[in-house]
Amino acid sequence: MRFLLRRLAFYAFTAWAAITINFFLPRMMKGDPITAYLQKHQSEFNPEAIDSLRTLFGLDSDKPLIQQYWDYWGQLFSGDLGRSFSKGLAPVSEVIASALPWTLGLVGIATIFSFFIGTSVGTFIGWRRGSRADYVVPFATFFSTVPYFWMGLIVIAIFSTRLGWFPASHAYDKGSSPEWSWDFIGQVVAHGTLPALTIVFASLGGWVLGMRNMMITVLDEDYVTVAEAKGLSPQRVMTRYAARNAVLPQLSSFALALGFIVGGTLVMELVFSYPGVGKLLLDATNAKDWPLMQGLFLVITLAVLVANILADVAHAMLDPRTRMMES
């Protein structure tokens, strides 16, 4: 428990630092894209929106710095991240909220699947080292070294254009709008299958290889020999003794992968025209939509932090030794 509190304090500090940097960054930048934009489009903004943008981008230099900082925090807590220039001046938080579920859902589920499948396969071929199961390794690594966009295009060409099994792009059929109906959920699943499959295949090799190598290392440990000498069943030795220890380093990589989910997989979202965060960030950059970019950076930073917290908790639960260590 004390371990957890200490970690949480550490993460609270990191989050504070990240947000503070986000506050100072535009104030230290040369040039001022916002004022120019505001002057051009003054009539479209209401005074409140202009105020909020001035706080976010440090144009309120008439106020003392402490006051600016205070206002900035107040704005964050009320969920106001400014207005997006390129999305018809919609609130940034709403624009992000409309893209986030797609990315989280698709890339998140794909990453989790990939981790579990890859780790299980790795466990098995590590356990049966030197057997024919080892042939899985070159296949898995082949898929992760193939350029992703190329694999995406091939998959579209085969399963969408040629066979017509799955739609090639977007998150749901044209003309329908998000709602909680079986029909719509079916559409989302159909549209998500190809992107999810390609993500799984592209990342599987890393998990398989990592787990297999750890298994081989752990299998040489004395406690595995002891477990065998104790007459335990092979399944028990494999899971409780070998895999249980070999999976620990995998967790750290998994946490990193989880953190990067929110950043979106830009290439995937481009190839499949998927309306996720990665595409949003690209659009924002192209349109010089500063408020949206700033908002996205903040969300991505916080997501990485949350993923790290989860990884820490999981690590603490699975490895008693980390609980002892000083933060």
Partner: protein, 288 residues
């Protein structure tokens, strides 16, 4: 009772199938009496551990058992040919009849499971009918028996010292009241004081429970003290097998004599202790 045979190893050979092949154990034959402590001595790499693992059929590729039989004469009067058991029967045999205490006290316990869980594993596998409370009590009793204490059931290995971990291993080895315990350098990683305590404990427990021990070590003086009989091994062959007293007072084989001479005596003359043929004493004298 004491003259009854417990284990017969005949013509046992193990080859490591690498290039060039290594004959780690060559045509070893020995008999173990019930209740006896048999010491197995020899330098590093002479095949002591390979022999012990071979008896339990724990060797992994590239090691291959090329010849020989190990017959275990069970209490019930049944003779079990260990080499003829299938995989399931072998697993059931392990630990139940013959348990082991391993070399590395520090790494022999699974770091992510509590001591209690690892002790319970033995009962879960070999005594599936046992009730949970019974199992707990049995594990707690074992830890009490070796002086670790039942309050350690929920400890993780990293929370224990090396000596305590080795005691836990001994407790685990005794869990099913096996008739033979193979101890592979059980005290080598420990300092002499802890080593002493553990050895006394093993002798006490053996007196109480009456199991046989094959005690493997390179430490011949230690064996002289605790064993009934000692086998001296060199290059995969047992060169001499005699009672501890005979071996000490009247070593037959040249190698045994050298092994005995390689340990310094507390009361001996200065310069008495010379390893190999180099005149070590002279060089130390000169550098002074």
């Amino acid at each position: 009772m004491t003259t009854e045979t417990l284990l017969t190893v005949s013509d046992f050979s193990v080859v490591y199938d690498v290039d060039p092949p290594v004959e780690a154990v060559r045509h070893v034959s020995l008999e173990l009496e019930r209740g006896e402590i048999l010491g197995l001595a020899g330098e590093s790499g002479c095949g002591k551990t390979t022999l012990a693992y071979g008896i339990q059929r724990l060797l992994k590729a590239p090691a291959v058992i090329t010849s020989g039989h190990t017959v275990f004469h069970d209490e019930s009067g049944e003779d079990i040919d260990i080499n003829a058991l299938d995989a399931d029967a072998m697993r059931a045999f392990r630990w139940d009849k013959v348990s082991m205490v391993f070399q590395g006290a520090m790494n022999a316990l699974n770091p992510v499971a509590t001591i209690g869980r690892q002790l319970e594993d033995v009962f879960l596998t070999h005594r599936p009918g046992m009730r949970r409370a019974e199992r707990r009590e049995e594990c707690a009793g074992l830890l009490d028996l070796v002086g670790v204490g039942r309050e350690r059931l929920r400890s993780y290995p990293h929370e224990l010292s090396g000596g305590m971990r080795q005691r836990v291993m001994i407790a685990m080895a005794m869990a099913l009241r096996p008739q033979l315990m193979i101890m592979d350098e059980p005290t080598t990683a420990l300092d002499v004081l802890v080593q002493r305590e553990i050895l006394e404990q093993i002798s006490d427990l053996r007196a109480k429970l009456g199991f046989s021990v094959i005690f493997i070590t390179h430490d011949l003086p230690l064996l002289l003290e605790i064993s009934d009989r000692i086998a001296v091994m060199k290059d995969g062959v047992i060169v001499e097998l005699a009672s501890a007293l005979d071996l000490y007072s009247d070593p037959q084989h040249e190698y045994t004599r050298r092994l005995l001479a390689s340990f310094p005596s507390l009361t001996g003359e200065r310069g008495d202790f010379v390893r190999g043929s180099e005149p070590q004493a002279a060089t130390t004298e000169a550098s002074r």
